[in-house]
Amino acid sequence: MRKMRMYQICFAVLATLMLAGCGGEVGSPQNEPVQGGKVVVDFPADTLRQSLIEQKTPGVDANTTVFGYKAYKIVYETEDETGALVHASGLMVVPTDNGVRPEDARKLAYMRQKGFSLVSDSHGTIFADKEAPTAVAEETLAPAGSPILLSALAGFVTLQADYIGFGASADRYHPYLLKHSSMEATVDFIHAARKFAKKNNIPLNSQLYLTGYSEGGYVSLAALQELEQEENVTFAAPMAGPYMMDQMALGVVVHDRIPIPSFIADVAYSYALSYEHNVSELLREPYASEVSTLFDGRYARPQIDARLPKVTEELFTRSAIDGVLRQDPSYWFYGALQLNSTAYWAPKTPTRFLQCLGDDVIPYAMTAGTVNVMKNLFKAPDVEAVPVEVAYTGDSNTTLRLGHVACAGPAYLVVTRMMAEIRKKTIGY
């Protein structure tokens, strides 16, 4: 009996020790709770200023006003090309007083009193899920891209929709350069962001600015067309976008070679899916079969371009090339390109089309032609083309020429300055 008791004691202690040792997990990160979204970046101004100075950001020094940078991921409802409901996501960046100097804190308090102006900044072409604005924010937990200029330096609230096919809707294909879903994803995000701001005491005034670069230029112009039916948009500045899709496609097929085949291949892929045609009607095999993999969100542009031919006739079918060359609206692809062009109307909103004269992907003629059509054919009252090199240097005779990628930074500097000037005249700060 006594022996039994000792065994029992021994094994009870052993068992207790072993069982008690299992487990013990770290809880979820303790982030600021918000209604209708989540905080994905909360970065102090002083650290951001130091970082910008180290990166030699033009116009930033120890005396520059820099605000704290807080970014939210918001999931909202929108619709795709067929009108089906989609849960999409976007990034909302708000200037804060985190780490600001006392004089900048006073400035921010005044801005809050007057309300922040909203900028919808549509991002350029991406292919990998990890490149979406919310994905970048969630991975880096740090400020990135144009919201640094627009929010941390200029004090706007910046919105960047991920677009359908990225972020919360990464399981879908991205309807690339398709007007309806591009416009819906952007407009619905603006609505969702305003609701989010109201719920979370982020003061907004009534001003709305639209901009975006490359694909974002196209998207922002599509969104402008929709928004003008609902409200007065303060100012729009699409940048370097393929507004005339039909003309862009024509420009591709008349050349023997395609420097960056991923862009036009994605157009073919997304148009075929959206208009329920076989991809093989537009792209030759094996590429027609491969693009669903290449554009599934795992690969970035350099990886995709490496898998696609740069010879036009190797990538596109003969019938697709001929259909576009004929400029025949009855040919489904060419007709779709015309329908999805965003150039053929007249904005009421003051609109400035920014584009570099040296753009090597979207020719400056695209912007000049769009402005020409809008002004002369559709009688748009206030649209102009702005050569970025000229606006950036302030020299109308400048010989500076910037390509499509190099142009983005200066273009955002120019557009931020333009919007800040308008806000100063109208809101007072």
Binding site: V13, M18, G21, G23, S28, F43, A142
Partner: protein, 413 residues
Amino acid sequence: MQKNWIIGTVLLAATLEAGGYKIPEQSLDGMALGAAHIAHTTGADSAYYNPANMAFLDPKTRYLEGALNVVHLPSNDFDGVQIFPPSTVVPASASSEREWAAFPTMQYVHSAQGRWRWGVSLAAPAGMTKRWNSSVQKTFAEKFYLLTAELNPSLAYRVSDTFAVAAGLRLLYSEGEVDSDGIVNGIRIARQMKGDTVAAGYNLALAWHPGSGVEVGVTYRSKVKLNEEGEANLYLGGVGRQYHAKVSVPVPAALNVGIAKTFDDRLTVELVWERTFWSAYKTLDFRYDTPIPPALVPIFDDPKLKDWQDSDTFRLGLTYRWDERLTLMAGYAYDETPIPARTLSYELPDSDGHIFSAGFRYRQNEHLEWGLAVLYDHKTKRTIAPGENINGIVGSFDKGGAFLTTVGFAYRF
């Protein structure tokens, strides 16, 4: 929450006691003798200290013993500055938090089966805990602890009347936590990580009793690699994100050689040399399931150089049988730190130690003994000169060390 409290304060709150994070004292006698307890082991704790000696215990008797070890860690005092890259010098004089902890140990040796005999021990062979609440130190080590529980069954074989060998299996459960929280270049950078693992190793032992009161023991405990795996919250600024994380730390291999001589069947003197193979600890490398923010990579992702050195410990133990009931014990050890000045960090500001211990056993009746032991580990002051430390530490660490108290019992049946 309750489970964490139990783990952290009652059961296996492992503690820094010997050089590095190894804990050699695992029984009443082991504590009283400062682990100078390899050649001359006469009870159930042979199962841990030298399982070959199990072969020489009374073959018909079963031995059981247990102990509760209470640990107090005084604060470490740091007097100096911290250099943040590239050249920001910040005053950093501060004291670490004082710690209280307790952990049980238990050993059992079964009766002999011919020349064979088995035993088992439950031990906490490694562990550490260090907390800093001062602003500079918590940037690196707000909380750093490692707990281990080892189940160590072993089998002895009596080769002859004077020579025996043994081998055993080391089964370790381990749990670790790493917290840090500070401001670097104006922005909050923090980490909270908990992980656990189960790992295995082995141990070998031999005992030689040539006569004339002389006993010789040699033991080897293999390295056990603890691949801690769990969740980590990393913060940059005001936002944190959770990652699945892994980090590997070794419980190093250790070789113990002991020789004991008993005079007049009353006084036993034992000398032990212990070589601990800390050079297995090259780097501390956290790995994550997805890329972490680039700004955090240099701090939380890049491997941290440790480059520890093999260390020696020299132990002296005295056991004096006062009468049939009372046995007195005392010990001293000189314990080298394995941590070079170059890679010393706040999580474990270790230095060479002088360990003093004493205790007694009292035989209550033919079956039961009980006793008490105390141990004081005095850490020498350690000064880090400018440019000597890759972690930017310049200054002196003082105090620290440990006070341990053990109450134990032994039962024979």
